[in-house]
């Protein structure tokens, strides 16, 4: 493992993503990717009394599912990296308090899933661990309650707003296996272009995704066409459009390879989700369910996954602060480089 260029780490032993699992809520179950998820819930509470408890149960069951599918005993898993959007990451710490695996709570807003995978890759590549489980969750109802208004309030959502995905995604990274392999990680810088509109997260995060993507391409000396797919986390329709525009200013055309989990998970017209999906679970479930499957079927062999996060809270919004964005990239390939 070594650092190359400005901020990219090249793997030496190529950690393998040995298993994945995902659980999604009812709205996601009606979306175009429903068949790829391990479990589709029929209601947002899932038998719990509060949305926060429901979210904890979702991440817990997702981690249990990934461990069960992997045939690795939970005692053989060295560490767990997980996070979510609720204050002090209570969904993951409450949900995973009984798994008995050393736990790192990670917060990178909606970039948490890939941030966890980046950290786990470094641990595994440096022989500090053999198996690590990563997970991230979000829940539409608990997120609305914390960041916006009560659900029953009769207000309107602007066309730029995004819909927080209910669900959780989880992967196990292992030191040995048949792939797909992590080849590079490019942790991103915090980029703030002064956007203050909390209903336009895509625009707030696009500059960070752009910065990380261009840096990754420069550090690795790759062109966008090297990848079969460049998938961002939750830029949505507007943010994706902006990212593709920004890339052109640097001479990169990513239109052919680029897509966004926020665009993939919902049917914009039928599901009235405006600019698309968002939340930690957006990239978490789309990668763990859909993209991981495509990589297994060799429909995608070289994937650049860029998770984006808006590093704000409701207090900072009310105080008129702008929204700092972040994006972490991880290069996942079916062949070791």
């Amino acid at each position: 493992m070594k650092k190359i260029g400005k901020q990219t780490i090249q793997m030496e032993n190529f950690p393998t993503i040995s298993q994945s699992a995902s659980i999604v809520g009812p709205k996601e179950s009606e979306g175009p990717l429903a068949k790829y998820f391990d479990r589709c819930l029929e209601d947002e509470f899932w038998g719990e009394k509060t949305w926060e408890k429901a979210e904890s149960k979702i991440i817990k069951e997702t981690v249990n599912t990934v461990i069960a599918k992997s045939n690795i005993s939970s005692t053989d898993i060295d560490f767990c990296f997980a996070g979510d959007l609720l204050n002090q990451c209570i969904s993951s710490s409450f949900g995973l308090r009984e798994i008995n695996i050393p736990f790192f709570g990670v917060f990178g807003a909606c970039s948490t899933f890939v941030e966890s995978m980046c950290l786990a890759s470094v641990f595994i590549d440096s022989h500090a661990a053999k198996h690590i489980v990563c997970a991230a969750s979000s829940h539409f109802c608990s997120a609305e309650k914390q960041f916006r208004f009560p659900l029953e309030l009769g207000n309107q959502r602007p066309p730029t707003s995004q819909w927080t995905v209910t669900g959780a995604g989880s992967v196990i990274l292992s030191s040995e296996g048949n792939g797909p392999f992590v080849t590079y990680i490019t942790p991103g810088k915090i980029v703030d272009m002064g956007i203050k509109d909390a209903n336009n997260m895509g625009a707030a995060m696009a500059p960070a995704a752009f910065d990380t993507l261009v840096t990754h391409l420069q550090d690795t000396n790759r062109k966008p066409s090297y990848y079969d797919a460049i998938i961002t986390g939750d830029l949505g329709y507007i943010g994706s459009d902006i990212l593709e525009d920004l890339c052109k200013t640097k001479g990169y055309n990513i239109n052919h390879q680029h897509n966004d989990c926020g665009k993939l998970i919902f049917d914009k017209e039928k599901q009235d989700t405006h600019s698309g999906g968002s939340g930690c679970a957006c990239i978490g479930t789309v990668f763990s369910g859909y993209l991981y499957q495509l990589m297994h079927e060799k429909k995608i062999n070289k994937l650049l996954l860029i998770a984006t996060g808006a590093l704000m809270n409701s207090t900072s919004s009310q105080q008129g602060e702008s929204i700092p964005g972040i994006a972490h990239a991880i290069s996942i390939e079916n062949c070791k480089i």
Partner: protein
């Protein structure tokens, strides 16, 4: 193409161009029709009360009570937010919106208990309306009292 990333100002202008606006005309039309419909129901209740012999002041009170009751019930049945999504200001501006803004946080925060949840959070949305509404009426009342 100019680089939108030059300064926050250029980026903000660029984002404004990229972001679709709310359909103001159709939103206004829906708000007008549904808001008008809600007010018409109020007027019908008012006429009914008058016909039963209540005076104007008592009839006004009954109208408010009934509209608030209906809005609170529809909020609890998870119907009001669906109306509000279409109607916007049409259901927000009449007294129905005020009822909805108090009942919705009361339901949402019930999970934090009756004291700190329902009691403490009930006015998180309607609080500013009460504070500034009451303040304004106090000021207007004082002007009326001293100068008229």
């Amino acid at each position: 193409m100019d680089n939108p990333m030059d300064t926050p100002k250029t980026y903000s202008d660029y984002v404004d161009k990229k972001s679709p606006n709310s359909p103001i005309f159709t939103n206004c039309l829906k708000a007008f029709l549904i808001g008008g419909f809600i007010c018409s129901i109020g007027q019908l209740i008012f006429f009914f009360c008058k016909s039963k012999g209540l005076d104007t002041s008592a009839s006004n009170t009954v109208v408010s009570i009934i509209l608030i009751g209906i809005a609170a019930l529809l909020t609890g049945l998870n119907i009001f937010n669906k109306i509000g999504k279409v109607a916007g200001a049409g259901s927000l501006v009449p007294i129905t919106g005020f009822a909805n803004s108090i009942v919705s946080p009361a339901i949402e925060y019930k999970s934090e208990g009756y004291i700190m949840g329902v009691g403490g959070k009930m006015f998180t949305v309607a609080g500013p309306v009460l504070v500034f509404g009451i303040s304004a009426s106090v000021i207007v009342g004082m002007i009326y009292c001293f100068f008229v």
